[in-house]
């Protein structure tokens, strides 16, 4: 089965539409959403509605820290993020807010674990910045592969049977076999706000039969997404960073 | 899943195992045949 894994959509309609189309073109049969459906971007109602429909049709979704902040205003965030959350909260309907609040923090499916930040303490929203954080996450689960997002930069970590770690920045469109002898942490890049210097939207595909993961990049209409952020009075920096991918 | 045995005459994923060709420090090489493959393996 082919899975398409999306993380950090951040209410970016143009990016998520482009990624969904690209994933379907690649034969995606199942959709995984790793959280942060909202925050930063200008189309939260559309984004939540779309994910609700996907979940209704069998997709798996977990909760991200921005989704969480809609219902839990105590969340500590930087100024721009906080402003976007407050604006978003006013835009969402009660059922949409309830959908986000009720998303689970983790989901397990076969030998795969889905989580927004990392597996050791999913509610602490810690970033996987290198092999030591990746090791902590892998050690906290018995899954063969854990998928996470949160840091908005794609990476692929593995732990050998001797607990040695390797880290790797994936090359787009080159499938990597997730070897059975080691355990893996696949950090999926961000759909709606990439921060690795490449403004193209990011997602990943997994073929469960061959165990091959493919990181994908999709160019999308960044200008429109940025215009909509400005037009809605959100902090300008949130629009500018989309153009630069940082 | 049970670990299949590797010895002459055994079969693994359709490959019939023949004689042992080489015993190295890191790996063992076996001659094998497969009904669908004509190239010597």
């Amino acid at each position: 089965m082919r899975l398409a894994v999306f993380a950090d959509i951040h209410a970016n309609r143009q990016a998520f539409s482009a990624c969904l189309a690209a994933a379907r073109a690649r034969g995606a049969e199942r959709i995984i959403c790793l959280g942060d459906v909202v925050g930063y971007g200008a189309d939260p109602e559309w984004a939540v509605e779309t994910v609700m429909d996907l979940v209704h049709d069998g997709a798996i979704a977990v909760r991200g820290n921005h989704d969480n902040a809609i219902g839990t205003p105590s969340e500590t965030m930087n100024g721009a993020a906080q402003a976007a959350i407050e604006w978003t909260r006013g835009r969402l309907s009660a059922p949409q807010r309830r959908f986000l609040a009720e998303l689970p923090l983790t989901q397990q499916e076969d030998d795969r674990l889905y989580v927004h930040s990392e597996a050791s303490h999913p509610a602490r929203w810690r970033y996987v910045e290198g092999t030591s954080e990746a090791a902590r996450s892998i050690e906290a689960t018995d899954a063969h592969v854990t998928f996470c997002g949160h840091i908005h930069q794609p990476a692929l970590y593995s732990m050998s049977s001797a607990a040695k770690m390797t880290g790797f920045v994936p090359t787009s469109d080159v499938p990597v076999q997730l070897l059975g002898g080691r355990r893996w942490l696949a950090v999926v890049g961000s759909v709606g706000q990439p921060r690795d210097g490449n403004p193209a939207a990011a997602f990943a595909m997994l073929d469960t039969a061959t165990r091959e993961i493919t990181y994908c990049r999709v160019p999308y209409d960044v200008e429109t997404a940025a215009d909509r952020i400005r037009a809605n009075g959100l902090p300008r920096w949130l629009a500018d960073r989309l153009l630069e991918g940082r | 899943m049970a670990k299949p045995s590797i010895e002459p005459g055994a079969e693994l994923d359709g490959f019939a195992i023949g004689e042992r060709v080489h015993q190295g420090g890191m790996a063992t090489l076996w001659s094998v045949t497969h009904p669908g493959i004509t190239v010597p393996l």
């Binding site: 092999t131 692929l156 593995s158 050998s160 049977s161 001797a162 040695k164 770690m165 390797t166 880290g167 790797f168 090359t171 080159v174 990597v176 076999q177 070897l179 059975g180 002898g181 080691r182 165990r211 | 899943m1 670990k3 299949p4 590797i6 693994l12 994923d13 490959f15 195992i17 060709v21 190295g24 420090g25 890191m26 790996a27 063992t28 090489l29 076996w30 001659s31 094998v32 497969h34 493959i37 190239v39 010597p40 393996l41």
Partner: protein, 439 residues
Amino acid sequence: MKIPRISEGEDPAAIVSFEMEQMIVPRLAGPHVPLCFGSGDFDRQPYVVIERIPGKTLYDRLGDLPIPYEEARVIAGKIATALADLHRQNVIHHDIKPSSIMFRDSGEAVLIDFGLSHHNQLPDLLQEEFRLPYGTAPYMAPERLLGVRDDPRSDLFSLGVLLYFFTTGVRPFGESETLRGMKRRLWRDPYPPRKLKPDYPLWLQEIVLRCLEIEPVWRHPTASQLAFELAHPDQVKLTARSERLQRDPLTTVWRRRFNRGLTLPKPKSDVAAQLASGPIVAVAIDTEEGSGPLNECLRATAEQLLATLPSARLACINVLKLGRITIDRTLDEQGNNKHIDRLVALRHWASPLKLDESRLTVHVLEAIDPASAILEFTAVNRVDHIVIGARQNSMMRTFLGSVSAKVAAEAACTVTVVRPPRSAVAQDKSSSTPKAIEA
């Protein structure tokens, strides 16, 4: 079928190197690697099934060393060609040594054992697994001792060790297996082969010592360029390297030893980008009367290409067309040697480019069919880019067929077809219509 020895579990390297083979070997293609027919993963029984290459590895020749220079040149050329093909597939072998090399009945070198290899687009499981560099000590490039695993020129160093060993019978850096002994090669150069064998050809010493340069940047830019030099020993640009009889003076050695920090290699390279910066460009030059304007355009195009590619090399080729039944092919009516005249003309064409001699070669091919000769030359020499002029005179083209059209249609690499600006051919009305669609 290759099955890793893991039951004893003594050596974690056996597992990791098997995992690397498992990832890399199924992706490789072409005559220079064994074909892969299947693999199994560690959760059941790990294995890879590869094509059986008949015959023995080069290790079998160790009793015959030293072997004749010409034989060594041919063998090393085949290995360099195989490496070029491997590097093009984003893989650095990292364990080039006699026991990793076999030959097909058709002649091509086949590289085996990819357990230490690096794939530029896949996770490098060996990068962080072991603090010490893993490999075969006598053949390991100096930068490997500093942890660099992503420079394809490391394989050129190993091939240089092999070529030195096969032609002198002596390993250039001995057999020391200790890290301390291996690290000497970071500052200590080997004895020049000519010190060991006074009859050692200059061109061969030039090639061997260039492969063995401590800094990768001083080696051949790509395996293709090394293969090119091995295929054309008469055109190897000889430098001071070729005649040396002594190693570097101790002052140089000490400076290297205690100033390492200054020459540390850059942290991350991109194999594909590096290969792309050192292409072999072939330009086909017509030396006949009246080809002046076209040749000037060809030179301008070559200049533009070379300006952006400091490691590129230029091969100027000219075809001396033979009549189907002509036997005399060296002397013209005046008794001049046509072959040498053409070589002189090619060098003259190239001189305004002011290329370093090490980047320029000239070749006169003798053939009945010029297009086929150009295609064969570029295939054998793994040329990356052909620059060729389109003949403007349609009468000529009708009689002779278009060389550029055939080359552009059948070449395996990029072809640039150059045409003089319209003003230069305005007089030639008959050529105006078909020109645009040619090639």
